[in-house]
């Protein structure tokens, strides 16, 4: 008999985790359980399910077998204990935070977050009485300085969007833990293939599965994952998170941490937040994301290789003023990228997002003309697609931010963001080159 369980690699888990053959039909592919509800065998069975004494499905707003395969798949790929899938990345992030934060509490977050997240925290949560202090993540000590007695979590992104700055997970996790706080990391841009934030001390990971996990740009989804390592019962944490320990008012008296231990947080997020706030993921969408994840490891390698080629090409291009990609050795984030990201061809796999500015008298105008001149690079507001995507953030994704917020998020007015796809890289370079020429000549 084996001394210990076999340790499966990333690619095997990307294809298999969570998906054993269906016990009834033997179906090898994951079935799409397109049903709202599940029958109870008896009144007693129903009571057991509602009391969480028996694991099982009741209603697809709470759990669904197809969605559960996605949850386990992402939990496995992140090296976490448990996961909860939500309708979108924004829903996952909201659910992750509301599971442990309430009115009167405070968050500390990186100022370089995706614009939608800045809006959710800075405006949406502020309206609910949850305050957020945004700090420059370049110096981890900025997080320490902003932590207050009422702070309940620290929030950052592995790779900021669109600045693609690399977050020092280990340093900030240490500061959060000194204060009995969990570190929540949005790992969307790196994907679990390039980075596992838990390995550097993060406690909760959130994903917009809409991006690299799906990879096809067809489907919205989000996932939150817990490491299972945060001690909600520690001397420091128990005062801050009594609701993890005390009988739940929102779910008839269950003590989540005591009852479910290292997946108590995920159960709380599922039963108290996602069940009542309604951000459930549809089974069909979960299935579509699962199709994408089966090739995540192959796609991320291709994204990284193509992005590095594109970054080098733009860096040498006479019509380009500047390029920002953490996979370039001259990037100030290169060392951290090397530490935190899986190596691809000996270089840190820095994902597929990069930004650049055009060398022109009116760089903003040139940027708009560049986007209009692209032949097959798609002008749209998503990232992480197999297709190469291009956008001008200041006039689109970040347009709700004022000038000061734009500067804090590192969005220059002339910045063009590329989400480099997995098409033939020579074709991507060709389209970039011809669009640059026509942007400047036109």
């Amino acid at each position: 008999m084996a001394e210990q369980d076999h340790d499966y690699g990333f690619g095997t888990r990307a294809i298999h985790a969570g998906a054993v053959p269906d016990p009834v039909t033997g179906a090898r592919a994951t079935p799409i359980h397109q049903t709202t509800s599940f029958v109870f065998d008896s009144a007693e069975h129903a009571a057991s399910l509602f009391n969480l004494q028996t694991f099982g499905n009741v209603y697809s707003r709470i759990s669904n077998p197809t969605v559960a395969v996605l949850e386990e798949r992402v939990a496995s790929l992140e090296g976490g204990r448990a996961a909860l899938a939500c309708a979108t990345g924004m829903a996952a992030q909201m659910t992750a935070i509301l599971a442990i934060v309430k009115a009167g509490d405070h968050l500390v977050a990186a100022s370089t977050l995706y614009g939608g997240t800045v809006g959710q925290l800075g405006i949406g949560f502020a309206r609910l009485g949850i305050a957020t202090t945004f700090v420059d993540p370049e110096d981890p000590e900025n997080f320490r300085r902003a932590i207050r007695p009422d702070t309940r979590a620290v929030y950052g992104e592995t790779l900021g969007n669109p600045l693609v700055n690399v977050f020092d997970i280990e340093a900030v996790a240490r500061i959060a833990h000194e204060h009995g706080l969990p570190l929540i990391i949005d790992n969307t841009v790196a994907s679990p293939y390039l980075c596992n934030p838990f390995a550097f001390g993060a406690d909760i990971v959130v994903h917009s599965a809409t991006k690299y996990l799906g990879g096809h740009g067809t489907t919205m989804a989000g996932v939150l994952v817990e490491s299972g390592k945060f001690d909600w019962g520690s001397g420091l944490a128990r005062e801050k998170f009594p609701e993890m320990l005390e009988p739940s008012r929102a779910y008839h008296g269950v003590k989540f941490y005591e009852t479910f231990g290292d997946f108590g947080y995920t159960m709380k997020a599922r039963m108290e937040v996602n069940r009542t706030f309604g951000g459930a993921l549809s089974p069909l969408n979960a299935w579509l994301i699962l199709q994408g994840i089966e090739t995540l490891h192959l796609r991320m390698q291709a994204h990284c290789r193509n992005a590095l080629r594109v970054a080098e090409f733009l860096g040498d291009h006479p019509l380009v003023a500047w390029v920002n990609y953490p996979g370039l050795e001259r990037s100030p984030h290169y060392a951290l990228a090397k530490k935190q990201f899986r190596a691809i061809d000996g270089q840190p796999g820095a994902s597929g997002i990069l930004t650049f500015g055009i060398r022109a008298a009116d760089a903003v105008k040139a940027g708009e003309r560049f986007i209009d001149a692209c032949e097959f690079l798609s002008h749209l507001a998503n990232i992480g697609d197999a297709k190469t995507l291009v956008i001008h953030p200041a006039s689109t994704t970040h347009r709700q931010l004022d000038e000061e917020e734009l500067a804090r998020a590192g969005v220059r007015p002339d910045m063009i963001r590329l989400s480099v796809g997995i098409e033939d890289v020579e074709d991507i370079l060709w389209d970039l080159d011809q669009a640059l020429r026509s942007a400047v000549s036109g």
Binding site: T12, R13, G18, V20, P21, E72, A82, R270
Partner: protein
């Protein structure tokens, strides 16, 4: 080391579980776990000196008393499942050895290396710091419905249904 194969073997062969420290209160973890195991075909033998009956089963003051009562019915306790503090484990382990149990199981947070070594030396399987319900649900299905990373990778059709 409690591997997937070992835990599967233990949970497949141990069918009668003495649950030491089983609470009669429905929202306590011990009640959750015992009720779950009972619903999945295991016989639960409560060991709690201050309760008379839990989950429809008579409660006994000790593992030894429970084993004696079961012997009169021609039955044996296979597993001694402990919801007790780590420091309280040695005498319970001694009883588990004395009654000829196959497995000493210490729940999440319960660790006693000394008692474990003694039980192992006596031929018992020992599982520590794990929940019997969570491991059953992890390896035989159910826990995956709650989004938990079961670490089970398999292309074989499960040979039992999980409800």
């Amino acid at each position: 080391m409690s591997t997937i194969h070992e835990l599967r073997r233990i949970l497949a062969t141990c069918r009668t579980l003495a649950v030491v420290g089983l609470s009669p209160q429905w929202h306590r973890p011990s009640f959750f776990a015992a009720k779950y195991m009972q619903e999945h075909g295991y016989r639960i033998v409560p060991v709690n000196p201050v309760a008379e009956q839990i989950l429809g089963e008579r409660s006994y003051p000790s593992v030894t008393a429970a084993a004696q009562a079961l012997a009169q019915q021609g039955q044996k306790i296979d597993m001694v499942d402990c919801f007790r503090r780590s420091a309280d484990i040695p005498p319970i382990a001694d009883e588990a050895i004395a009654i000829g149990a196959k497995c000493l199981w210490l729940q999440i947070g319960v660790v006693n290396e000394e008692a474990a070594a003694k039980a192992r030396a006596a031929g018992l399987d020992v599982v520590m710091d794990r929940c019997v319900k969570i491991e059953h649900a992890r390896l035989f299905g159910g826990l995956n419905w709650a989004g938990v990373n079961t670490k089970v990778i398999s292309a074989r059709r499960p040979q039992q249904l999980f409800y």
